[in-house]
Symmetry: C2
Subunit: 109 residues, 2 copies
Amino acid sequence: MEIKTAVPLLAALAQESRLAIYRTLVAAGSGGLAVGRIGEQLQVAPATLSFHLKELSHAGLVTSRQEGRFIYYSANYTAMNELLAYLTENCCAGQPCTPAPPCCNPPCD
Amino acid sequence: MEIKTAVPLLAALAQESRLAIYRTLVAAGSGGLAVGRIGEQLQVAPATLSFHLKELSHAGLVTSRQEGRFIYYSANYTAMNELLAYLTENCCAGQPCTPAPPCCNPPCD
DNA sequence: TCCATGATTCTATGATTATCGAAATATTGA
DNA sequence: TCAATATTTCGATAATCATAGAATCATGGA
C-alpha cells in the first residue's frame, strides 16, 4: 500500500461518527445494515449519516448494495486488513515480525 | 480502548506529513531520530515539523528525549499495538480471530 | 559572556471538514 | 398515477487544520 492510499483510509476512520458507523458495520457482519438502522443505533441525522457513509465508501472501507427501497452498507474487511498490514510494515527495522496478517482474512462470516 | 482514545490516534496518522514522520521513526527503531534529521529526510520546514511532532506526541504515538541540543523522537510501539487491537476488535461478530496481537509486542529493537 | 545551532512558539492565512435543514431522487405498493 | 418511505444532494455555517515566516527559547562551545 502507498501512503497516498493509507491517508484517506485513516482519515475516514479518524472521526467519531464514522468510526462508530464502521464498527457498527463490522459488528453487523457481511450482511450489512440499512442506512435507517444505522441511524437508529447511532442517533445520527440522515443527511449527516449519508455524508459519512459516502466518505467511508469513497475510502473503500464499506460497500453498499441496494435491496428494494433499502441500501445496505457493509464493512470491507479486505481494506482494513491491508491498512493494518501497512501500519505494521517496517515496524521492526524491516524484519518481519507478524507471521500472519492480523484480523480476519478471509472474513469469517 | 475507547473510541475517544482511538479517534485522536487515527487523526494523528491521517495526514501525509505525519504518517511519513511516524513511519520514518518506526523504521529508525527505538533509538529515535533528531528533529533535524527527520526534516532532512522528509523535506519539511522546521515549524511545520515541530507542529506535526507535537500532534504525534500529544496523541501518544511518539516520545521524545533531549540529548544536548538535540531532541530525539521515537515511535511508541505500544500505542500502535493498542490501536491495532482496537481496530480488529469485534471484527468477526465478537469471535476472537487473531491469536496474538499484531506487530511487535514487546518492540524488538 | 557571547555566538552559533537546534527546536519550538507565535501569528496569520488559506483550505478542508462536520453538521443539518430543506429540497430532490428513487422505489414500492395501493 | 399517487402517496409513502428511504436515501441522497444542495447549500449555508461554524469549526478545525496545515503551512511557514518571524520571533523566541535552550544548549553547548569559544
